[in-house]
């Protein structure tokens, strides 16, 4: 990887670029017909953010997470969230060790590089916030002692938007912890046919070999952060952010933190497009996943968040 001055476009090391392409291709071979969503998932990884997949059961949320885990050579844990799940169930507990005569911390499933938090909205808010705090701080504190989470630490959470009985939907402030929120939607006709005729996905995933290790991901993250965002691009980004704050149907627009996330995601998207500089198209590609779950509509009669985010994209001019 070349070390570039902030004024010019950066170039990605060829080997790293090849591994990234292979990794993306491999996930695409498992989750069929969803290249944009897979790209966004990788963007989330490269930008150092967490991913929330919100969709109906059975459209491949978990398959995507599994495919990512199999492709990235990362320690993987899966937590199925339920209403009786306690914070200690995911963080871990301190147990008194008789032979050593002291409390020993036994890390929970949270201590993984890639964590799949399935059906996160089924857990109680208390458990949810334990996870979300860990996501924000990259560490957990148990009995006054801090335990650093492994790096890279990447959470893929899923939630079912329709299943409302007995669930605790994430509050808006918590949603902000996820850099991107995507939905998978039904597969296309051809993709579905391939799913129906091809071997089982789980079986397929078990045959996958990892393409990228933790070091490479760290290097890619560093590279992604150095991607050039020209003044013109920042102009456009600010215009978009400004528009979210001025829109009559939006009560609360994007926060500065959301703006930073938007830029980071756009940079990662540029890397995935093989560029060392951001284009307005990168911002557009990540805008709805970044902003969609962060906007607060003004009230009844407003369009839903994603529609609003999409409308903003067509309203704000690229100069």
């Amino acid at each position: 990887m070349t070390h570039a001055s902030p004024d010019t476009a950066v170039t990605l090391d060829a080997a790293l670029s090849t591994s990234l392409d292979r990794a993306v291709a491999q996930v695409n071979s498992v989750v069929l017909g969803k290249p944009a969503q897979i790209r966004l998932a990788f963007a989330s990884i490269l930008a150092g953010g967490h991913l929330l997949i919100e969709d109906l059961p059975g459209v491949g949320k978990t398959t995507l997470a599994h495919a990512l885990a199999a492709t990235l050579d990362l320690s993987f844990q899966r937590i199925q969230f339920t209403s009786d799940l306690l914070p200690s169930d995911i963080i871990g507990v301190s147990i008194f060790e008789r032979d050593r005569n002291r409390f020993e911390f036994h890390p929970g499933p949270l201590f993984a590089q890639l964590l799949l938090a399935d059906e996160i909205n089924r857990a109680t808010p208390k458990t949810q916030s334990a996870l979300l705090e860990a996501m924000a701080e990259q560490q957990v504190t148990v009995d006054g002692r801090s335990h650093t989470l492994p790096a890279p630490f990447f959470v893929v959470a899923t939630q079912n938007p329709l299943d409302l009985a007995g669930t605790y939907p994430l509050p808006d402030s918590q949603l902000d912890r996820f850099m991107l929120r995507i939905s998978l939607d039904y597969p296309s006709r051809e993709a579905e046919r391939a799913l129906l005729t091809a071997p089982d996905r789980q079986q397929l995933i078990s045959t996958l070999a990892p393409c990228m290790d933790a070091n490479q991901i760290v290097a890619l993250r560093k590279h992604s952060a150095s991607v050039l965002a020209s003044p013109a691009l920042i102009d456009y980004l600010q215009a978009l952010i400004g528009a979210t704050r001025a829109h009559p149907e939006i009560r609360v627009g994007l926060s500065p933190r959301a703006g930073i996330a938007l830029l980071a995601a756009a940079r990662a998207h540029a890397v995935l497009s093989g560029r060392g500089y951001c284009l307005p198209e990168d911002v557009q590609a990540v805008f709805v996943p970044v902003a969609g779950h962060r906007l607060t509509p003004a009230g009844h009669g407003s369009r839903d968040r994603e529609t609003l985010a999409r409308a903003l994209l067509t309203d704000v001019a690229v100069r």
Binding site: P6, D7, T8, A9, L228, S230, P231, A232, L233, R275, G276, Y277, C278, L279, P280, E281, Q284, L313, T314, D315, V316, A317, V318, R319
Partner: protein, 654 residues
């Protein structure tokens, strides 16, 4: 660095147009020789660019030949024409040694001077327009001489493309200078006299001359250019039969030629004629004639400023008319002279001895047959009417030209008729004289003025009748009444194919309005008009000083504005990139693929690829430049920004 083929071709074009601006008024052989040198040099460079400049042993003789040619043509090296030939010649010689951009720049500067010199000859709208257009190749060349990003165009194919592409830019530059030119036009102190002195009389339009031979006017009648324009104070012009614009009165006849002898000014205010009709007031705007006489309807009641009336009551200017000259006159269309001085009577009866015996015999016979002068006139007019025909292509006449005309050929035009009629009257003892001027005039109702063309040149007679004074008799009217009633165009229709069809005539008259306006507003803008203009702003009796202050202040304001604009414009190359991208968007929108305003460059390009598959590569290259400037660098490189602007300008879509 040497001039590349494209720059050299542009230089050739720039010099060629400067040469062309002088072609109408310089001797053909000089123009042809210069064009030959120009062409030869161009061919030499085109064929063997490696040879470089024309060697000194060719250039030196050419350089020496130039003043020699000028002296051979004009007899000296000074004055308007010799100076112009020298200037044009030096410009062409500069071309023979032009190899470097520095040479080309010098040549452009000098070509602009040469173009300016062309205006010393002709300030008409057409010439001024040509000079303005001829500035474009000069500016295009200057731009082409600037070092710039290579456009990857083949030089040979690019000359015409360069010209075409450069025209809007150059026109913009010329228009940008227009306010400054306007300030200079309004405030530059004007001289009463032209700096370059009097041009030699053999140049320019001939107009009416002070001698008349049968056939002499024929050339003039073929000349369709305006002689002068008239605006009347009354709403309607006088009827066609009254439109006799007297210019010169000719008494002297030597057998072949009538001659005008200048007669002294009538200084006393008391008229020697009695006006029988209300005065008709009008203003004439005379085109340059290089002569001193002015034209007026019948008898002018007073001379305009700077002119005087002579004994024949025609107007004479104190100086030759070198520029478009306006003057006001009041005329009496009906009048009565009181007495004919003895020497005048003598002059009006004198005939050269030994010419035209048959005509003299006829006159003698009529004198004895008729008692009254009036009857003799009637007989003569009846004879013309019965036996003669009007033509612009009369057969040649012998030594006794009047005899030949009256008894043999019997066809001719105004000069023949007026000449023979005057001769006949004198031979019969009636004082008579020839008057040369213009008859008729086209009433341009649209412009509210009358235009009298050179083709309206006419000659008629005046005879002395006791109790009436000089009476106009137009024998041509007896032969061809339409010549007088409808104008020369109608009368000459059969002989004069150059007048063209009716619609062309209408077009010509509309064009004449434009010319008249140009004359009025631009060419006639002299020191007096300048004073009048400034007086409206409270500056009375503007002196050189106040003019210079106005000129200086105006120029400073304009130049400052231009510099501010230029600085602002070039402050941020990013602005230039934006501008060029907007321009690109406009052009693509015109080609049918407008950019959605929220569409990024990559997405737009994707669409354009499908829309214009044949131009996809070019479009991609332009967009690559844009993306590199706008998004792949924090600070756009000015040179790359310019290159992008050029790439946008040269992009051809579909």
């Amino acid at each position: 660095m040497r001039l590349d083929a494209r720059q050299f071709n542009l230089l050739a074009i720039a010099i060629l147009v400067a040469l062309a601006a002088h072609a109408p008024h310089l001797p053909l052989w000089i123009i042809a020789a210069m064009a030959f040198v120009l062409g030869a040099r161009w061919l030499q460079r085109a064929r063997r660019a490696d040879l470089g400049a024309v060697p000194i042993w060719v250039r030196l003789p050419l350089t020496l030949a130039l003043p020699a040619a000028v002296v051979a043509q004009y007899g000296n090296l000074f004055g308007r024409e010799p100076g112009s030939v020298l200037a044009v010649g030096m410009l062409v010689l500069k071309f023979t040694e032009s190899e470097k951009p520095r040479d080309a720049r010098a040549a452009v500067t000098f070509a602009c001077f040469v173009l300016m010199a062309a205006l010393l000859f002709d300030q008409s709208l057409v010439m001024s327009g040509f000079v303005a257009l001829a500035l474009l190749p000069q500016i295009i060349l200057l731009r082409a001489l600037e070092p710039r990003d290579d456009l990857a165009l083949k030089p040979a194919a690019a000359t015409l493309a360069d010209l075409r592409r450069g025209v809007p830019q150059a026109a913009f530059a010329v228009l940008g200078a227009a306010p400054l030119a306007l300030v200079a036009f309004l405030f530059l102190p004007r001289l009463g006299e032209p700096l370059w002195g009097a041009p030699s009389p053999d140049q320019g339009r001939t107009g009416i001359s002070d001698t008349m031979t049968p056939g002499g006017l024929a050339e003039l009648i073929a000349d369709d250019s305006p002689a002068f324009r008239v605006t009347f104070d009354a709403p309607a012009p006088p009827p066609p039969t009254q439109r006799y614009w007297r210019g010169l009165v000719m008494y002297h006849f030597d057998g072949t030629e009538w001659t005008h002898m200048p007669s002294p000014p009538v200084r006393d205010a008391s008229p020697r004629f009695e006006a029988l009709s209300a005065p008709l007031s009008y203003e004439i705007v005379l085109e340059p004639t290089q002569q001193r006489w002015l034209f007026a309807l019948d008898l002018p009641l007073a001379a305009p400023n700077g002119a005087y009336r002579n004994a024949e009551f025609t107007l004479v200017n104190e100086k030759p008319v070198m520029d478009v000259t306006p003057y006001r006159v009041s005329s009496a269309l009906r009048y009565r002279h009181d007495t004919l001085a003895r020497h005048e009577r003598q002059l009006a009866l004198s005939l050269p001895a030994g010419y035209n015996p048959r005509l003299r015999a006829l006159a003698a016979e009529w004198r004895s047959r008729y008692g009254e002068d009036r009857e003799i006139v009637q007989a003569a007019l009846a004879l013309y009417n019965a036996r003669f025909s009007y033509t612009l292509n009369p057969p040649p006449l012998g030594r006794d030209s009047m005899d030949d005309f009256m008894f043999e050929t019997r066809s001719g035009y105004c000069e023949h008729f007026s000449s023979s009629f005057t001769f006949l009257m004198r031979a019969a003892g009636i004082p008579a004289r020839v008057v040369v001027g213009y008859q008729g005039g086209y009433w341009n109702a649209l412009g509210g003025y009358m235009v009298v063309r050179q083709s309206d040149a006419h000659a008629w007679s005046e005879i002395w009748q006791d109790g009436q004074g000089w009476v106009r008799v137009d024998p041509t009217a007896a032969v061809s009444p339409e010549r007088v009633n409808l104008g020369s165009r109608a009368a000459n229709a059969a002989d004069a194919p150059w007048h063209g069809p009716e619609w062309l005539l209408a077009l010509r008259n509309q064009w004449d309005i434009v010319n008249q306006l140009w004359n009025k507003v631009v060419v006639q803008f002299n020191a007096l008009h300048q004073q009048n203009l400034l007086a409206q702003f409270g500056v009375d009796h503007a002196q050189w000083r106040s003019l210079a202050i106005a000129l200086g202040a105006g120029s400073i304001v304009l130049v400052t504005l231009a510099m501010l604009w230029a600085l602002r414009r070039d402050r941020d190359p990013g602005d230039a990139v934006d501008r060029a991208y907007r321009r690109l968007n406009r052009r693509l929108a015109r080609a049918g693929a407008p950019r959605d305003e929220a569409e990024g460059p990559e997405a737009y390009l994707q669409r354009l690829r499908q829309r214009f598959p044949q131009a996809a590569r070019e479009i991609e290259a332009v967009f690559a430049r844009y993306v590199a400037l706008r998004y792949a660098s924090a600070q756009p490189d000015p040179a790359a920004a310019r290159a992008f602007a050029v790439a946008v300008a040269t992009l051809r879509v579909g």
